[in-house]
């Protein structure tokens, strides 16, 4: 039996491909669009996937938000991570249900959300962030996604030290990842993974050098270009607009020191 929509749940209101809205269901609240307003209360007790009509009789679908929606629709105080990069970081890290992960830095929690989603129900994400206001935003985003219980947000600087040990993976998304590499080595179990995400080549070069100096092996760096397609018989083509660059993903494994 599917879960029914309750007060306090989030719903992704879908109008068309460009217009989706992540809204919280509250009594006596209405959501206004240029296609009329929707009484959010009317969704309570319905199944996700239900069609709801606006005051102008336009149909919306009340979809259940997916991980991707939470990651992509994080409040954008900082540069958020793209789902394609979150997906590759998760895959490269090798994490899954039960994994213990250290993340630095939290930012607004977009990548944290993805990590927490996959380590459920027994794993944990320890996420370091020096800026308090980011942590507040991250906390709200993680609560919204129902994942706060799997994360410990830490107002600490991972370039100084990491408290944890015997960690499965360290994930870096901060300006100076190379400074965290020695601490990541200590925190990781042998054969554990490190994944770093950086927009500039210069960050990548410094990070790879730090990895090699610190007995990491199997270092590799990739970038991932995602291109959307317009699929319509007779008019099929890639979209004109494309994000040309988000960042480079660097991966390595901890080896024993010789």
């Amino acid at each position: 039996m599917s879960h029914l929509i309750e007060e306090g749940d989030y719903v992704l209101l879908y109008l068309d491909h460009r217009r989706t809205y992540l809204v919280r269901i509250e009594k006596e609240r209405s959501f206004h669009t240029h296609k009329g307003f929707i009484q959010l209360e009317s969704l309570i007790g319905k199944q996700y996937g239900t069609i709801v009509k606006s005051s102008l009789d336009v149909e919306f679908v009340g979809l259940k938000p997916l991980l991707r929606d939470y990651v992509f629709k994080s409040m954008r105080k900082t540069q958020i991570i793209y789902p394609k990069d979150a997906a590759l970081i998760v895959m490269f890290s090798g994490i899954g249900p039960g994994s213990c992960v250290v993340e630095a830095g939290t930012g607004t929690g977009a990548l944290t959300t993805a990590l927490a989603h996959y380590v459920r129900p027994d794993g944990k994400v320890y996420s370091y962030e020096t800026k308090e206001d980011f942590l507040l935003t991250a906390k709200r985003n993680l609560e919204r996604a129902g994942l706060i219980d799997f994360v410990e947000l830490k107002n600490k600087d991972a370039t100084v030290s990491i408290d944890e040990s015997n960690i499965d993976s360290v994930v870096l998304d901060l300006a100076t990842p190379w400074l965290v590499v020695p601490h990541a080595y200590d925190a990781l179990k042998l054969s554990g993974t490190i994944v770093s995400f950086s927009p500039t080549i210069d960050q990548v070069v410094k990070t790879v050098e730090a990895l090699i100096e610190n007995s990491f092996v199997k270092a590799e760096t990739v970038e991932c270009l995602q291109r959307g397609m317009q699929i319509r018989r007779g008019r099929t083509r890639p979209h004109t607009l494309m994000t040309g660059h988000t960042g480079y993903i660097t991966f390595a494994c901890k080896a024993a020191k010789t």
Copy 2:
């Protein structure tokens, strides 16, 4: 405490970036390379990440295989899936620990392995494949990755029917995905997701048309280009060789019929 290597475990022997070998640890078995042979028994009782020397005194690292290693090093009877695509398919599907997934077709189980990894410990993957020999290979690959308990391999044709219902996500990786779309609609819970992976444009067009006809919404198609980088101070550049195309990923959500 980290898990120690036991007989029967798999180890990824790492020599350098181009030479890694996924081997099963057995007593009295040695693994031969052009850099000498390694007594696999010598790894028993060691931690993953340990350094082991070959008979020619060359160092290998005995890494713990990650999901990616299992996915990428599947026995290649069919076209396997690339980790980048497996990563995006998992992310787009929205699945995670506890999800129930239908996959068609199994192939040699590369994508099945990724799906099973993420639905642990309470979820399940029901994987359809018409060719018996593929199922045998897939079974071996899933056993090797320790994930067979989370998969039900079914020697059935998903283009004819799907047995399950109330499914979270249907993942299609077969030649005629559009033929599965109506059965996927029935199998999915409302707001459930469908993700299809196809190499040709023609398959994508037919699949998107079938999705629209069958009350799926939010259909989108992307392709993902992964490019490797050579990171070395003074000689940093993208690699010359690149996989130019693997396939298109199409995603949609089940809406209620109006």
Copy 3:
């Protein structure tokens, strides 16, 4: 001796990478920007490459416009062609000084400008366009680039017929290139080339089928993705924004009928 700037010449006023302006030098005309205005007359008698100051004492460089500037800054009544595509079309066509080329359609003359630039001083571009207003715009653009003498603009429909024969190359940039293919075959000399530019896959498939049916050989289709880089020590990275798709370029050669 370099040519000095005269009244009536075009100058590319360069402020910074994002702000360049193609202006015609006229007496008593000033050019206004948010950085002050420039008395265009003051450039007369100067060399291209000279630095000129605005009324707010901001430096501009008065560069000589290049082919690329004329192609890219064509008046945009229709979709213009990107320099990268114009460059590849020219290279694939094999044309050069002295070539005779048929183009369909002219549009606003952006690609025509590139073709005319390279066939000088003895070649000719015969450019077909059904819409008269496009031809007027194209004429102005070609005059501005000083290339009108190498082009014959024809208000005719190349899908109906092509007047010329013994042509070196036919270049197609219109909605239905496949309809021109039989006429292109007749117009071309043996071993002549045809190059077609189309945004959609469906156009490409129809065009390639028409090429094969009409005794063209060596058909190939490519797309070209251009990515800009931000080069700054410590912050080097690809630009975030990128044009994800412009069109596919299809190329073939005329063989004798068997």
Copy 4:
């Protein structure tokens, strides 16, 4: 009237998309393939585009070689340039019929061939190369393409000095382009262009810094990814294999020193 094939001419024998052969027509010479041999003499007096049968009755088309064939089929003693890059370099340089160009270094003359093709009939390419054996190869390649008269090959080091002045464009394709930048400034006319092609990021950063220090403006760097498509109704898709990187193209214009 088309030019007829004569002894000494080059012909591109086309069998299928993957098999084309650039051959010189000589009397009493036969060209052997796995599809039988072709008496080259039989092509003399024929038109380009003619179909010729091998001894095994397989059809070949005798095409007229295009610039691209000469560029791509240069004898590969060094890394050759790809036609896509040659095309962009030519476009960015702004050169055309009549231009005077300095190139450093010549290599085996692939890019030189492209430059010479477009500066005909009144322009000139002055090409610098320190290695004598490269110059010999370049000379043969340029003769083969019929373009040697438009090139002056110079066994000199452009990082030491450039003899010419009042040049329209300087094109750099050597390991240390930044060392040529000051000499390029002196050689160029005001508003003249410089284009540099380099495989590594580090070369690009040094070159851009040298450009800025030497009063060049409008510096930009791009890379170009070309992807081939398989166009067949029902099986249309990008090719699996792709060249992921050739090099970065950097462009700038000479401004007056302030």
